[in-house]
């Protein structure tokens, strides 16, 4: 339980040493409480600050969706469900130090719930209600898994959640009559409401297609999720999660019930996965076992590692890579004269290379690396400033 730190390595002038020792989670360690004297142009209140960012992001998203073509719109719709799930996973893994290979399965729970509720005879429930139900059910599943997970660590936890990822989609085959077996359930996406058509007409005059509507649904869910997650990350809750991650015994002695807080992190993460699954079902218009293989869980994990563990922005960037890199590489392969099949096989290869390169040269991910650079620069400035003053 003691730190491997000796007085000998605690010389003065250590400021230049990277300040966060756990490089991999550097992106997660933005302080939740600013020390006095920090200046900022943003409002002091967390709520106002995050609402401001929310509104700006919403405006940015509308502009992005309206200047791009329908195909990009549908790509962005895929981006939203990846990002929602990755956001939840990055909180679990980066902030609380738990790994999950089972998030694909939790997405399946959300997706099947949505498919079942939209597929009822007659008028289905309103979309937000269905989403809430999907979130609630995946939260319950997540809580059950979380209770088991709270007692496990590292590879054991990975193994347990792996079993979930492999086993849960099998339920669809077992309950063939309700869940549609191998073919899965087709999802009837609801028609866009009139207010949406009017809104699009007002903003850009583009045709308000079904694809665009689904992209907007995804973006709205993404923004709400990230708003809520950002609130948590910046609060005492996020701080407590990181404390549990860094030093179990010390956290426990501070009065933190390790198990309860781990389960809480897992539940929050599962809720996100459930919502992501719900959005996925709408966008893909299908909930089938083949959509929720282990590859999905691994892709999410890759996205958050490349983006920077523990950072919501990193989760978004990683998801963007997940969505936009494969077509880009395939096109590139086509330009270099590869035939269709070979070009398509290029994408997973390049993805793997990017992951390996990121692990070697930027283990903190995109956001974490930038953050480390910035902190080193600041520390250098501070030392230089002190030298100038003190002589």
């Amino acid at each position: 339980m003691s730190e491997p730190q000796s007085p000998a390595n605690a010389r003065a002038g250590d400021e230049l040493i990277e300040e966060t020792p756990f490089t991999a989670t550097a992106a997660a360690n933005a302080p939740s409480a600013q020390a006095a004297g920090g200046r900022s142009f943003l409002p002091k209140s967390t709520l106002l600050r995050h609402l401001l960012i929310l509104v700006l992001s919403a405006v940015g998203a509308v502009i992005l969706l309206e200047v791009t073509d329908p195909f990009t719109n549908s790509q962005l719709a895929s981006l939203t469900y990846y990002a929602i799930a990755a956001g939840g996973l990055t909180v679990l893994t980066g902030m609380n130090g738990q790994i999950s290979l089972g998030h694909g399965a939790l997405m399946a729970v959300g997706a099947y719930t949505t498919a079942l509720f939209l597929g009822v005879d007659g008028e289905p429930l309103p979309l937000p209600v269905i989403f809430l139900v999907a979130v609630a059910i995946s939260t319950i599943v997540g809580a059950l898994v979380g209770v088991a997970a709270a007692r496990l660590h590292g590879p054991y936890l990975a193994g347990a959640t792996l079993a979930l990822a492999v086993g849960l989609p099998g339920l669809a085959l077992y309950f063939r009559d309700t869940l549609g077996g191998e073919q899965g359930l087709r999802v009837r996406a609801p028609e866009p409401p009139a207010s949406f058509t009017n809104f699009i007409d007002l903003v850009s005059g583009n045709p308000a297609s079904g694809t665009k509507w689904l992209a907007y649904v995804g973006v709205i869910c993404l923004l709400i999720t990230f708003f809520l997650l950002a609130n948590l990350v910046r609060s005492r809750i996020g701080r407590t999660w990181r404390a549990v991650r860094d030093q179990e015994v010390a956290a426990e002695l501070a009065g933190i019930d390790l198990g309860a807080w781990r389960v809480l992190a897992f539940v929050v993460s599962a809720a996100c996965a459930g919502l992501a699954g719900a959005v996925l079902a709408l966008v893909v218009r299908l909930a089938a076992p083949s959509g929720f293989t282990l590859v999905l869980s691994l892709a999410l994990l890759t996205a958050i590692v490349i983006g920077g563990l523990g950072s919501l922005l990193g989760a978004l960037l990683g998801s963007a890579l997940l969505v936009f890199l494969p077509p880009f590489v395939t096109n590139l392969g086509g330009d270099f004269g590869l035939d269709q099949t070979k070009a398509a096989q290029l994408a997973p290869f390049v993805y793997g290379v990017v992951l390996i390169v990121a692990m070697i040269f930027a283990p903190a991910g995109i956001v974490g690396t930038i953050r480390l650079r910035w902190m080193t620069a600041r520390a250098k400035r501070a030392v230089a400033g002190r030298a100038a003053h003190g002589g």
């Binding site: 339980m1 730190q5 966060t20 302080p31 209140s45 809750i237 990181r242 030093q247 010390a250």
Partner: protein
């Protein structure tokens, strides 16, 4: 704590040890390496469950004590080493220590309600006050890994103090400190005893003798002496535990010299 016994497998780490910390007193716990001091500490924290014995706190017996309940009971503990959260700033580290004073719950945090902000501000003020008391407020925004060891120890102490405990358990607070820092620490502990009771495990005899009101001496899991510093110092059993008796030392030395003479002493 009365009649505490702990065995790890066949090894009796503690047998029938009793210790009582009076309110407002500094109680020292000393003994040679392996005497069971830290084990006794871990029992007091619920990290190790005793095989026999009772733990009583404020006239109530604590059954099934769990470490996470400790701070609610008004007991804080520092760890051997520092055990700071490496990924949190110094200020945040101390704020985690104030966990039991937090009121805002999950949903106010989720929605970033002003109550959560206010609650966090109160925690921050508390934490800052604790850092100021230990003269470490200049490091509030830094991460522990980059700080000199004595500063880390002060931060760890601040994290324990910020919970406003009634009983503070200090596990080797002076290890790795220089002479003058140890002197400061002694004065700090004396000052703290006006607000809380302190139970102190320490190797540095001069510090222990100076700050403690009462001392319990352990050797090989048994309590061999208890009393005021003067009484303990005069107790022959204590001298024997620490030094062995004179004849033994000489015999050992002779034996060592005979069998292992070539090696320089380390």
């Amino acid at each position: 704590m009365t009649g505490i016994s702990v065995a790890f497998g066949g090894v009796a780490a503690l047998s029938d040890v009793s210790i009582t910390v009076e309110p407002g007193q500094v109680h020292g716990l000393i003994g040679p390496n392996g005497a069971g001091k830290t084990t006794l500490f871990n029992v007091a924290c619920g990290l190790v469950r005793p095989d026999a014995g009772r733990i009583t706190w404020r006239d109530q017996e604590l059954r099934r004590l769990r470490p996470s309940r400790l701070s609610k009971l008004g007991i804080s503990r520092t760890l051997q080493g520092v055990g700071l959260f490496a990924g949190l700033t110094v200020l945040e580290n101390v704020m985690v220590g104030a966990h039991r004073h937090a009121k805002a719950g999950f949903f106010s945090a989720l929605l970033a309600l002003p109550t959560a902000d206010k609650d966090d501000r109160l925690l921050r003020e508390r934490a800052t006050a604790a850092l100021v008391e230990l003269d470490a407020e200049a490091y509030a925004g830094r991460y522990p890994g980059s700080l000199p060891y004595p500063v880390q120890k002060r931060v760890a102490l601040a994290r324990a103090l910020v919970a406003d405990p009634d009983l503070l358990l200090l596990d080797e607070p002076a290890s790795g400190l220089a002479e003058d820092e140890m002197h400061e620490l002694g004065e700090l502990i004396r000052a703290l005893s006006s607000r809380m009771s302190v139970l102190l495990v320490e190797h540095h005899m001069d510090l222990v003798m100076k700050v403690c009101d009462r001392i319990t001496v352990l050797d090989s899991g048994k309590q061999i002496a208890a009393g005021t510093p003067a009484e303990v110092q005069a107790d022959p059993a204590v001298t024997e535990a620490y030094l062995g008796d004179a004849v033994d030392v000489e015999a050992d030395a002779a034996e060592l010299a005979g069998t292992d003479g070539g090696r320089s002493n380390d």
